[in-house]
């Protein structure tokens, strides 16, 4: 290329070619390729044009360079503009093609659930752990001494009839109550003691609509100086408020367990009706939830703890019962059938 006229012709031709060519482009990829054929730093037609500069006489070079640069800038802008438009159209198309029906069901990731008894246990344990209670474990197979005798229930005691016991040998049996944990704890540790035993599987030879031959108990024990019935109720008030909501009250009434004296049954005000009386509380406004009492002096003595120096409180309660009350499960047997339709319903805090 020798002169500017010739250059102008070339520029016009390229412009013409670009304008003509762009109208045929249908997607951003074609835009890119077309753009490259002009602006590729090595092979592009405009770049080639620029390369011709070295053949241009010195006085024309400035004009020549200017002309080519103008073309390059114009082409760059032109392609950007086309590219943007093309990309916008493509994006729109893609979005449109990806339209979904938002009312269709969710895709679930698989989730498993803790057993309702584990969930209620965790809640109860959290409450007691925060009060400084150690959490101990119980044995499922106990010997007669720990399950009965040490708990002030000697062989001839009629209280043995209160619980139908499964025997494995004359000495060993399936724990009928978690209370053996009281003895094991007090044998190992001296006061002050604060412990809860859980989960405790216990067994009674009872199998009907409302009884299961195996169920879970949670057992609590506090031994210290000056432990009273007032402390028992105060502590249980905290428990039930946590479990069943603020404002849930407890009521003590006399009962009997060989290992506590006095012994009490503990009722909670019905959390369903607030105490007015409903089906859940059978119209009484109260629901029986656990047994408790002041540790019998003989039990302390059996563990070499001086009952004149120390006193204790103990309580035990059925976790199934708590879970059923709290979650509204109406059949205890459901809890042992691993029916996923049941298990997948309960997801507590």
């Amino acid at each position: 290329m020798q002169n500017l006229e010739e250059l102008k012709t070339s520029i016009a031709a390229i412009k013409e070619e670009i304008l003509k060519g762009t109208s045929d482009l249908t997607n951003s990829k074609e835009v890119y390729e077309f753009k490259k054929s002009f602006l590729d730093p090595k092979l592009g037609k405009i770049s080639q044009l620029m390369k011709g500069m070295k053949d241009i006489p010195g006085e024309l070079r400035a004009d020549f360079g200017k002309g080519v640069n103008e073309l390059k800038n114009w082409a760059g802008e032109h392609f950007n503009e086309i590219d943007e438009k093309m990309k916008a159209a493509e994006a729109k198309k893609r979005y449109e093609s990806e339209k979904i029906d938002v009312t269709m069901p969710a895709t679930h990731s698989m989730k498993g659930y803790l057993h309702p008894v584990t969930q209620i246990r965790n809640r109860v344990i959290d409450i007691f752990a925060s009060m400084g209670f150690e959490v101990v474990e119980t044995k499922e197979i106990e010997n007669d001494y720990y399950n009965f005798t040490a708990l002030n229930t000697p062989q001839d005691h009629p209280a043995r009839d209160m619980q139908d016991t499964f025997y494995l040998s004359p000495e060993f049996l399936l724990a009928t109550q978690t209370s053996a944990a009281q003895i094991h704890t007090m044998e190992k540790k001296k006061p002050p003691i604060k412990m809860v035993a859980a989960p405790g599987k216990v067994f009674r030879s009872d199998d009907d609509a409302t009884h299961s031959p195996m169920f879970h108990q949670i057992e609590g024990l506090v031994v210290d100086k000056k432990i009273t019935l007032c402390d028992l109720q105060g502590m249980l008030d905290v428990l039930v408020a946590n479990l069943f909501g603020e404002g849930t009250k407890t009521r003590l009434r006399p009962s009997y367990f060989p290992f506590t004296e006095p012994s009490v049954e503990v009722d909670v005000s019905c959390f369903e009706c607030g105490g007015k009386g409903c089906r859940l509380c059978k119209g009484t406004g109260w629901i029986e939830v656990l047994g408790a009492g002041i540790v019998n002096r003989k039990v302390l003595e059996n563990c070499n703890i001086d009952p004149d120096e120390y006193s204790g409180l103990a309580f035990g309660c059925g976790l199934e019962r708590l879970a059923m009350l709290k979650y509204g499960i109406n059949n205890i047997k459901m809890l042992y059938e691993s029916d996923l339709r049941v298990l997948e319903q309960i997801d507590d805090k």
């Binding site: 040998s169 007032c230 109720q233 105060g234 009434r253």
Partner: protein, 806 residues
């Protein structure tokens, strides 16, 4: 225990409504399980006088005019055969409610409301009633058992409610008595509590009688087993006339569910209910040698009890014998050989205390029980034993059914029946409660309980009546006080004086919870199954006879065979759980259980067995396979910061080619695999099932491992994909371990493809791995990783004869 209000009123003037009394009893420790109004289903039934009674032609019916004390006499049609003019009958007026009976007029079929009726063209405005229709039996009201109209006494006031006349205005309290209060297992025992709680005087039953002076020559009582029978009282009654008991006694027995038999037998039953002392009456004519001997049975000695059952006894059983043979199973049931008959003319009454444990054991061992044995097993006190004999003799006189002789024998071990003294510090008594019961209330309450309290400063002295054998130490006094003072006086304090302690879960508990949560995150839900299983469960999983799992601890007294052995494996229940879900329409799912297996050193059990914490995992459904199960096992390993290894293995219940043993640090800790198609079929499962079991107890040693941070590499990692061709029987695990072992910079080996095909040879397979090389303190030099790859390939060739796929 059933307590009719009217009977209770014999001993206490009760001036509160039944529901108020129920609450009072509840408050002091006697829960009324049911408060039943005897005539609650009956209403609107009054005394009616039949003034006219004309037969309706060609029927068995009569049309009557009945005066019910208001307005015009009612016209009522009646089909009973004993309807007649001039007599008074119960009339259920229109709107009344009575029991509906079947065609036999005897079987009750619910209740019915009386409406206006029409029979054979005659209007009928009510119904004349039978005893059955009013719920009144012959024992409750003489004549009520007649299959026809119940005839009311002539002096009944026309128009008045029939309920008081028939005893239908009665209330029955069903009271639950705790095991520490056997003294309250009677009407009189409850009356003592009622008197105390209502603060009313207690009236003692009439115990008076006069001895006739007649004696029974040579009558002798010996107690050879005083350790089982600390007291035995016998009294001879002569000139016995067996007959019916009076209506009042029959009615009371009927109210508590006891059939009247004859006056002498009814007296013993009456006293059982009234005082809680079981008694027995022997026909004196059948007591050989005229004597009674209380002894342990001889080995294999036989007795036939009143209900005609024969028992073979042993020396653990106590028997009452005459001079020759057993005549009663002590405390449980009399012998058939000496039962009271219509011809009986002389009776020996027995009132005794038998040791509760022995009665309970014998009763259980023989499977024979009675109201008496139930009562003895709870414990009777000798104070009441003495009282009962006096009361029985009084009733003999009152009923006029015999003469109280002067032959009275009391064999006892010298136990006192006088009140015993107990001293306590008032402060200590209050300290148990945490409140201070005012002294005047202490005095009042203990006086009401017949404890004769004396308070001097802090010293409290009480005289405990002999029937209160439960009173052992001062906390018992605390309980007596608070149950009468009222638990509402307890002021809740939140462990006011207790020492602050630290607590919380143990490492084991925290770890187990973590494992559970990990599995939940894998989509598995937690199940809990019984600790006992059926021996057939061990058959289901095809365990050989000598398998360790067969050495299960047996329950001596299982509910049934299905719940009879302590589990040695968690697998059968997991399989059942999966099967159960499928049967109920859930065709996929994941479950786990964390529970104990029981492993005994020796059987029968001599020591605590090993309760081994064990995890089972189950997965079923078309989308599950060995490797989805493995992902859960791996998640458990990860949650414990452990690495598990897997080896091919065999289990009789698992697919022979899809089973692995799980190892941790080369120790076998469990197994996993697909359950056999045979078991899948036996459980009616449509989709395959997979099960794993891991012995957590052997992993406990690792629970303390803390997670450790590995610093991120300072230099870029490099990855290489290597497709390796090897013999088919070489495992992925083998190849992985060669690759890892070949170079210390290899930090990860991931299988990403498996290929088998003719191109690489019939017995070959190609495994493609992505191998990650992580540099240490300096970056990999040029060609370094290629060198490591070469080393890996060399080792693969050497150990596995494996080669890079070309």
């Amino acid at each position: 225990m059933l307590v009719p209000l009217s009977w209770l009123k014999d001993y206490v003037d009760i001036d509160v409504e039944p529901h108020v009394l129920e609450e009072k009893l509840f408050g002091c420790g006697f829960e009324v399980e049911e408060l039943n109004e005897v005539g609650k289903d009956i209403s609107g039934v009054v005394v009616g006088l039949v003034t006219e009674c004309d037969p309706i032609p060609d029927t068995h019916l009569h049309v009557c005019k009945v005066d019910v004390g208001e307005g015009e006499p009612l016209q009522i049609c009646c089909g009973a055969d004993n309807v007649c003019a001039g007599k008074k009958f119960p009339v259920a007026k229109v709107g009344a409610q009575v029991y509906a009976t079947a065609k036999d007029h005897v079987t009750v079929e619910g209740v019915m409301k009386i409406g206006k009726g029409k029979l054979r063209g005659y209007d009928s405005f009510g119904m004349l009633c039978s005893g059955t229709e009013l719920g009144v039996s012959e024992d409750m009201y003489p004549g009520a058992g007649y299959n026809g109209l119940l005839v009311l006494p002539d002096d009944a006031v026309v128009g008045s409610d029939v309920k008081p006349i028939l005893g239908l205005d009665e209330w029955i309290f069903d009271i639950s008595v705790t095991a520490n209060r056997p003294d309250c297992q009677s009407i009189f025992g409850i009356a003592r509590e009622v008197a105390a709680v209502l603060e009313k005087p207690l009236k003692t039953p009439d115990l008076s009688y006069t001895e006739s002076g007649v004696t029974k020559e040579g009558f002798k009582v010996t107690v050879e087993a005083p350790e089982l029978c600390p007291r035995y009282i016998g009294h001879y009654v002569s000139d016995v006339k067996i007959g019916d008991s009076p209506a009042w006694m029959k009615r009371r027995l009927a109210l508590v569910g006891i059939n009247a038999i004859s006056n002498i037998v009814d007296i013993t039953n009456y006293i059982l209910i009234e005082l809680g002392q079981p008694m027995h009456a022997f026909d004196e004519a059948f007591l050989e040698k005229g004597e009674i001997c209380v002894r342990r049975a001889k080995e294999n000695e036989k007795i036939v009890t009143l209900d005609e059952k024969e028992f073979a006894l042993n020396p653990n059983n106590l028997v009452i014998c005459d001079g020759v043979k057993p005549v009663a199973l002590a405390g449980i049931m009399g012998g058939l050989n000496s039962e009271i008959r219509e011809t009986t003319t002389g009776v020996v009454f027995e009132a005794a205390k038998f040791m509760r444990d022995n009665i309970r054991k014998t009763s259980r061992a023989l499977g024979q029980s009675s109201d008496s044995s139930a009562r003895f097993a709870k414990g009777v006190d000798e104070y009441t034993t003495i009282m009962a004999m006096k009361r029985a003799l009084h009733l003999v006189e009152e009923l006029g059914c015999g003469k109280v002789s002067s032959t009275h024998v009391d064999r006892n071990s010298g136990n006192s029946v006088e009140p015993r003294e107990m001293k306590a510090s008032l402060k200590k008594v209050n300290d148990v409660l945490g409140i201070e019961v005012p002294v005047k209330d202490v005095e009042r309450i203990l006086t009401n309980l017949n404890f004769a309290p004396v308070i001097k400063g802090d010293e409290l002295t009480v005289m405990i009546p002999a029937y209160r054998e439960d009173m052992e130490s001062f906390p018992d006094i605390s309980e007596e006080l608070i149950r009468m003072y009222g638990y509402e006086h307890v002021v809740p304090t939140f462990l006011a004086d207790a020492t602050v302690t630290s607590g919380g879960l143990t490492l084991k508990q925290k770890t187990e919870l973590k494992i559970k949560r990990t599995l939940c995150a894998c989509g598995a839900s937690e199940g809990i199954h019984y600790s006992f299983i059926s021996p057939s469960d061990l058959d289901l999983i095809n365990l050989p006879e000598d398998a360790d799992e067969r050495k299960a601890i047996r329950i001596l007294n299982p509910i049934n065979e299905d719940l009879s052995v302590m589990r040695t494996t968690l697998v059968p229940q997991m399989i059942h759980a999966m099967g159960r879900n499928e049967k109920r329409g859930r065709l996929y799912g994941r479950l786990f259980e964390l529970g104990n297996r029981f492993v005994a050193d020796e059987l029968p059990l001599k020591d605590y067995p090993d309760e081994r914490a064990t995890l089972s995992i189950g997965a079923f459904g078309d989308n599950e396979n060995f490797f989805t199960l493995k992902s859960m096992v791996e998640a458990v390993a990860g949650s414990l910061n452990l690495v598990f290894e897997y080896e091919e293995a065999e289990k009789p219940f698992l697919h022979p080619y899809r089973t692995a043993r799980i190892l941790c640090n080369s120790e076998e800790i469990g197994f996993m695999g697909q359950i056999t198609y045979e078991i899948q079929k036996a459980e009616d499962m449509r989709t395959p099932g997979f099960v794993a079991q891991i012995d957590l107890k052997s992993l406990e040693q690792y629970y303390a491992i803390e997670p450790k941070f590995v610093p991120l590499p300072k230099f870029d990692i490099e990855k290489r994909d290597l497709a390796i061709v090897m013999d088919r029987n070489v495992t992925c695990g083998q190849a992985e371990s060669i690759i890892k072992g070949a170079c210390r910079f290899v930090t990860d080996v991931q299988l990403f493809d498996v290929f088998e095909g003719a191109q690489i040879g019939a017995d070959k397979k190609s495994l493609a791995f992505t191998v990650t090389f992580t540099p240490g303190d300096e970056a990999f030099g040029d060609g370094a990783v290629d060198g490591y790859v070469a080393k890996i390939l060399k080792n693969l060739k050497f150990h596995l004869n494996a080669e890079l796929r070309s």
